[in-house]
């Protein structure tokens, strides 16, 4: 591969997958509100 193609590939992977990693990290730091969890399961018929 040419250097410019490799560079662009790395930038694409870092921005998009890095964005995903950040989004996951953010979610992990804010776990689901357990207080609201014990809910009656919905009827599934």
């Amino acid at each position: 591969m040419t250097p410019i193609a490799i560079t662009m590939m790395i930038i694409a992977i870092v921005t998009v997958w890095g964005g995903l990693a950040l989004a996951l990290l953010n979610l992990k730091r804010h776990p689901e509100d357990e207080g609201a969890l014990p809910e009656e399961p919905a009827r599934e018929l």
């Binding site: 921005t15 998009v16 964005g19 689901e32 207080g35 919905a42």
Partner: protein, 524 residues
């Protein structure tokens, strides 16, 4: 499917919910990641500047895709209903928007299932390389038996009809089983499976000779593309279709979320997972195309293609030539099947939820009636010798004048006429971790409509200037323009059908309690 006794008419059935945020996110990713990620994105990126496309793509994702995704989440979650009910609760006059989206989903589901059926057959064909050395002739001639001229025929093609029947049977089982036992479970199994299979496919493709040439073609930036408005329009267009926003899916799924859920935080994961999968698909597809070009002794630019041509002509050719081709074929077509099914069930759920809400029906009845009706239309019109023309036309028109125009009208009505963005923004920020406030409103009220106007105008001009694909005028008139217009008319008619007395629109103590809670919170 459990068989507990149905609730008596007096005790309202509680709205179904995703049992966890994780399952909602998986299902939303399953919906967003579809055929388009695999067979559309790689070509669009290549055709619009290669590596340089990343810039308009990310700008479109952040400035339009994600804001629109949040808009859908806010509407569905705040008003806790299927698209028609949610929009009706937002404002009575907005109900037709919901029905329009439901009808768009009806059309999409009918033809989308057909492509999954083809992919299913090709998974099997991969073992024997049934297409021989003429993949194109095999697909259009032997397999689809495409008629020479477009029209409406009922000459059924059994090799498509029966797999399609099988796909519908599987999908109906998932739909009847409901949100927790059907949709959540299907996504919890199929999505990880899809990712594993696709990663294996990409690894295999990267080891093929010529793969590096393919990646060069895909990633080498053409910076001059950035000055071309067409490239920016392509980026916005692709983001809209890729994220499954603006036609009811995300409204419906988010209506099944528990009250205190981080909407925007979850949405960021969904949006970036969708894009992450696309990048992966671009790498895998272009590595394989690089190999194909090398084997044919031509340049990568001579073999690039998208859509049906990529999946059912180029890939079979690659499978025939590659070492361990059968493995590659099973991984590729199996991925298409799984990616397709998880998207198809989300499209169907939009219709099922709307019927449940409007008529006050239970899960089983609504999902059976809806799925069988869509399956019947799908089986009657598409597995025929003229089905490909119909599929092509309905796909092109429902994308332009169903999804895109519908999203434009919805956004303009919500932002400019009903002025509901402050209310929805407050709802998003109540619990969510990624807060957008003013920026979000500007993006939804200005950037999104501008991008959509440009796209709709472009589509309108190109489709009015020449008859689509040179098909007969009556054919495009009926199944293109006529179908698109009918969606709007039928949406209005459905709005005027009164809501059932048992419907949640009249009696929904759960929702009333939430409204009260919101009011209390606002007063504090």
């Amino acid at each position: 499917m459990s068989t507990s006794s149905p609730a008596s008419p007096d005790t309202p059935v509680k709205r179904e919910t995703f049992s966890s945020r994780r399952l909602f996110i998986l299902s939303a990713i399953g919906s967003a990641v579809g055929l388009g990620n695999i067979w559309r994105f790689p070509y669009i990126a290549y055709d619009n500047g290669g590596g340089a496309f990343l810039i308009p793509y990310l700008v479109a994702l952040l400035s339009a895709g994600i804001p629109l995704l949040f808009l859908d989440y806010a509407v569905g979650h705040k008003f806790r209903g299927s698209a028609p009910l949610a929009y009706r609760r937002l404002h009575r006059a907005a109900e037709p928007l919901g029905w329009w989206q439901v009808l768009v989903c009806f059309v999409i589901a009918a033809y989308y299932a057909v492509i999954i059926a083809w992919a299913l057959m090709y998974t099997i064909f991969s073992f024997t390389e049934a297409w021989g050395d003429d993949a194109e002739g095999f697909f259009f001639g032997n397999f689809l038996a495409v008629a020479e001229a477009p029209g409406l025929g009922f000459e059924f093609v059994p090799s498509v009809f029966f797999p399609l029947l099988l796909i519908w049977a599987a999908v109906i089982l998932i739909m009847v089983a409901g949100i927790r036992k059907g949709i959540s479970r299907a996504n919890a199994v199929l999505l990880p499976l899809l990712v594993v299979m696709f990663v294996l496919l990409v690894i295999q493709a990267l080891f093929l000779p010529g793969a590096a040439e393919g990646l060069n073609a895909f990633f080498t930036p053409d910076w001059s593309a950035l000055a071309d408005p067409g490239v920016w329009a392509a980026a916005y267009g692709h983001i809209f279709f890729s994220l499954s926003v603006g036609y009811g899916i995300m409204v419906t799924y988010s209506s099944y979320l528990k009250r205190r859920t981080d909407l925007t935080g979850s949405g960021m994961v969904v949006a970036f997972s969708n894009s992450g999968f696309e990048i992966l698909a671009g790498i895998g597809v272009f590595a394989a195309l690089g190999f194909m070009a090398q084997a044919a002794g031509t340049g990568v630019n001579d073999v690039v293609t998208q859509g049906i041509g990529l999946a059912f002509v180029a890939f079979p050719t690659i499978v025939s030539q590659a070492p361990f081709g059968a493995v590659m074929g099973v991984l590729f077509f199996g991925s298409l099947v799984f990616a397709g099914i998880t998207s198809l069930i989300s499209v169907l759920e939009v219709i099922v939820a709307a019927v449940q809400d409007k008529l006050g029906w239970g899960r089983v009845k609504a999902s059976l009636v809806v799925s069988i009706l869509v399956a019947a239309v799908s089986l009657a019109f598409f597995p025929t010798s003229t089905g490909l023309y119909l599929l092509d036309t309905s796909d092109a028109f429902v994308n332009s004048f169903g999804i895109t125009l519908g999203a434009l009208v919805t956004v303009v009505v919500l932002a400019w006429f009903l002025r509901k963005l402050p209310l929805l923004s407050a709802h998003l920020n109540r619990i969510s971790t990624v807060k957008m406030r003013g920026t979000w409103m500007v993006l939804v009220a200005a950037v999104v409509p501008l991008a959509l106007i440009y796209m709709v105008a472009n589509e309108f001009i190109s489709k009015i200037s020449t008859t689509y694909e040179g098909y007969p005028e009556w054919f495009v008139g009926v199944f293109g323009w006529g179908m698109s217009g009918a969606l709007v008319l039928v949406a209005l008619v459905l709005t005027f059908i009164p809501w059932s007395r048992r419907s949640k629109a009249h009696d929904d103590p759960e929702y009333d309690a939430l409204v009260e809670e919101d009011a209390k919170e606002a007063a504090l």
